[in-house]
Symmetry: C2
Subunit: 360 residues, 2 copies
C-alpha cells in the first residue's frame, strides 16, 4: 500500500569505459486535482468559507497532493444542483446542507437539523458518537455519495419579518423563504413557504417577492445586508437548532484516494466542522448588536402560543413521515439520542448556564 512512497533508484552500469546505460525509475506520489461545488455564493462569510478552509487545510497537509478548487453557487452548477453533480461524478466534491435534498431522500433532513431537534453540540455527538453518521452514509450510498459533516451554524434565527408576529393568525398568507421541515411547519401554521437560494434573498426582499426571510443568523444576515431593505422584526429560531453542513464526495473519487489522503480529508472536515461553529459562536453577538443598535432591527420574542403551535405541528409532521421506514429508522436514532442527551444537559450544562446567568 505504501509503494508510492518509495523512490527507487536503479542505477545500472554496464560497460564503463564506453557504453553507459542509466535507468532511473521514480515512483512519485500522484497528485489529485478536484472540483468542489457549493450551495453558497463564492467566498460567502461562514458557510461559503468552510469549503475554502477545507481546501487550504487539505492542500497544506497533503503537501499539494490533493488540490481542491472551490466553486460558488452557479459557477459550475446551480445552488440546488450540488447533490446531483457529485452523485453523477461530474465533480468530485460538494458542500451543502442535507435538508435541501428532502425531495430525493425524505430522511436527509435529520442530518442537517429538524425543528425542536438537536443543538450543534448534540448533533456532533449524535453524528460522531451516537450512530448518526453511519446511517447517513448508508442513505447516501445508493446515490454514490460519501458524506462527511463539515460545519455547523449553531442555533439559527427564525428570521426577518416585515410585520410583528403577535399570534398564529399573523402568519396567515405570509410569504417566507424557509426551507426544510421548518418550511412545512410554517405552511401548516398558515404561512406560504418558498425556497430561494441565499444569493437571491436580498433582491427577493427588496422587490417584495417575499414578506419574511429565514437565512442563518446575525453574522450571515448582516453580511447579506437584509437590514438595508427596510425596518424589520427579527425573531429567534425553533426550526434549526444546530444545522450541520455536509461535505459530499463522489464515491468513485473517494475510493481512488490513497488511505492517507482519505484520512486527511476526513480529519480536515472535522476540523472545519468545529471551526465554523467557533466562528458563528464568536461572531453572532457582535453582528446582532450592530443589527439592532446601528441598523434598527427590532429584536422580538415569539409569543408562547406561536411556539407551541410550531411544536405541535412539527411533531405531527414527523409522526406522519414515520410511514417511510427510512425516516422511522433515522428518527428513532435521533430521538433516542435527544432524550438521553437532554436529560444529562438539563442537570449539567443547562443548569450551569442558568446559575451563571445570575452572576452579573
Amino acid at each position: 500500500m505504501k509503494i508510492y512512497q518509495y523512490l527507487l533508484i536503479f542505477i545500472f552500469f554496464s560497460g564503463c569505459s564506453s557504453d553507459f546505460d542509466s535507468d532511473v525509475e521514480v515512483f512519485d506520489q500522484q497528485t489529485f486535482k478536484w472540483s468542489l461545488v457549493t450551495t453558497w455564493p463564492k467566498n460567502y462569510p461562514g458557510l461559503g468559507m468552510a469549503p475554502e478552509r477545507l481546501a487550504d487545510l487539505v492542500n497544506e497537509m497533503s503537501n499539494g497532493r490533493l488540490q481542491i478548487t472551490v466553486y460558488g453557487a452557479g459557477e459550475l452548477v446551480p445552488a440546488m444542483g450540488v447533490f446531483d453533480a457529485v452523485s453523477s461524478g461530474s465533480v468530485e466534491m460538494g458542500h451543502s446542507g442535507a435538508y435541501y435534498w428532502k425531495g430525493k431522500i425524505p430522511a436527509a433532513q435529520f442530518f442537517a437539523g429538524v425543528p425542536f431537534g438537536l443543538t450543534a453540540k448534540e448533533m456532533n455527538a449524535w453524528l460522531h458518537r451516537g450512530g448518526g453518521l453511519e446511517i447517513w452514509r448508508e442513505l447516501y450510498e445508493p446515490f454514490n455519495i460519501y458524506p462527511i459533516p463539515c460545519g455547523n451554524t449553531g442555533t439559527q434565527m427564525f428570521g426577518w419579518f416585515n410585520k410583528e408576529i403577535n399570534s398564529v393568525a399573523d402568519l396567515k398568507g405570509l410569504k417566507m423563504r424557509i426551507p426544510g421541515v421548518g418550511g412545512e411547519v410554517f405552511k401548516r401554521a398558515g404561512g406560504n413557504p418558498v425556497n430561494i437560494p441565499g444569493g437571491e434573498l436580498f433582491t427577493a426582499m427588496q422587490t417584495g417577492t417575499i414578506d419574511a426571510v429565514e437565512w442563518v443568523g446575525p453574522f450571515n444576515d448582516l453580511a447579506f445586508g437584509f437590514q438595508q431593505v427596510a425596518k424589520y422584526y427579527y425573531y429567534p429560531g425553533w426550526h434549526e437548532p444546530g444545522s450541520t453542513l455536509e461535505l459530499l464526495i463522489n464515491n468513485d473519487a473517494w475510493n481512488s484516494l490513497p488511505p492517507d489522503l482519505q484520512a486527511i480529508v476526513e480529519v480536515a472536515a472535522k476540523a472545519v466542522n468545529q471551526d465554523l461553529l467557533d466562528e458563528y459562536t464568536a461572531s453572532n453577538n457582535r453582528a446582532l448588536k450592530e443589527l439592532v443598535e446601528t441598523h434598527g432591527a427590532v429584536l422580538k420574542k415569539l409569543p408562547d402560543d406561536v411556539i407551541e403551535e410550531f411544536r405541535q405541528i412539527s411533531k405531527e409532521i414527523i409522526n406522519e413521515s414515520l410511514s417511510d421506514p427510512t425516516v422511522k429508522l433515522v428518527h428513532q436514532s435521533f430521538q433516542d439520542f435527544l432524550s438521553e442527551v437532554s436529560n444529562y444537559h438539563a442537570i449539567a450544562e443547562d443548569a450551569f448556564v442558568e446559575a451563571r446567568s445570575n452572576s452579573d
Copy 2:
C-alpha cells in the same frame, strides 16, 4: 525550509575511461518518532484516549512519517511532571490540563476553565476565534512549549460527597480532591481542597483519605468505580463549565517538523478536540443513569445559597488575581468574550433549549 526533505545522493565517478559525472537528486521524507506523556492513566476512557487518537490520526495522515508513542501517567514521568518534561525537551509532547500549572503560570487556568466561566462551545470559540489561543501561546513561549487545545470534557460534575450538602456550613473541614481555582473557592468556603492525580482517587476515597472527590463527570467517574466505594451524594458543577485539555509540544521539536506535518498535528488536535467532547456528550447520560439506577448514587442539586457563595468567592479570587498583569490581560479577553457570547446565546440557543424542554 524544506531542505530536510531532500535526500541527496551524490554519485561521483572518477576514473573510468572517460570522465562521467552523475548527480542524482532523490527526494525522500524524514520519519519522526516522538514520545507523548500524559497526566492520565494509560488508556483511560475519554481523557486518556484523546492522545491515543491523536497519535493514530497523525500516523494515518502522515503515512507513518510522524509516529507518536503515548505514555500514561507515571510511565515516563509523573502525572504532574508533564509540563516540565515537555518544556525541557526530554519528551516532544504532552497531554494535560492547563489548570495544573497555576503554580508556574497563574493565568494558565483560563485556558482550561474557571468557575462560572465558559462552556465547551464558548471555550472553543474564544480560543480559536476570539484571540484566546494567541495569548495562550505567548504565555507558554518562555517555557519553550507550543500548546494546542486538544479535547474538552463538557460541563463537569462538582462530584461525590460522603454526606449531603444542605448549607455552606456543611462544607466546613471537608477534605476534597478539587484542583485549580475551583479548589481555592472551595477552600475559602470552608473546605479543605487537595490535588491528587486521577489514578490515585479510588484508593483515596476507599481509605477515607478524602471525604469528597471532584473528577470529571458520569462517564469517567463510572470508569473509576467511585460508586463502588460507598453510597455517595453526587452534585452537578459550577467550577469547570467546559474544561479544555491541552496538547503540549516542545518548541524545538515543533520547529523541526516540516510544514505539512505541523499542519497535520494542528488539524488532528482540532479533530480530537471535537471528538472528545462528542464522546463525553454521548456517554455522560448513559453513565449517569447507570450510576443512579444501578449503583445508588444519589443525584442532588446544590442549594442556591451554596451556589451563590461559590459565585461570590470566585469573583473575589479572580478580582484579587488581577494584580498580576498577565492574569489581567487574559481575564479581560475571557470576560469580554463571555459577556458577548452569553448575550447572544440567551436569545438563541438557551432560549431554544428552554422551549424544547417543554415539548415532551
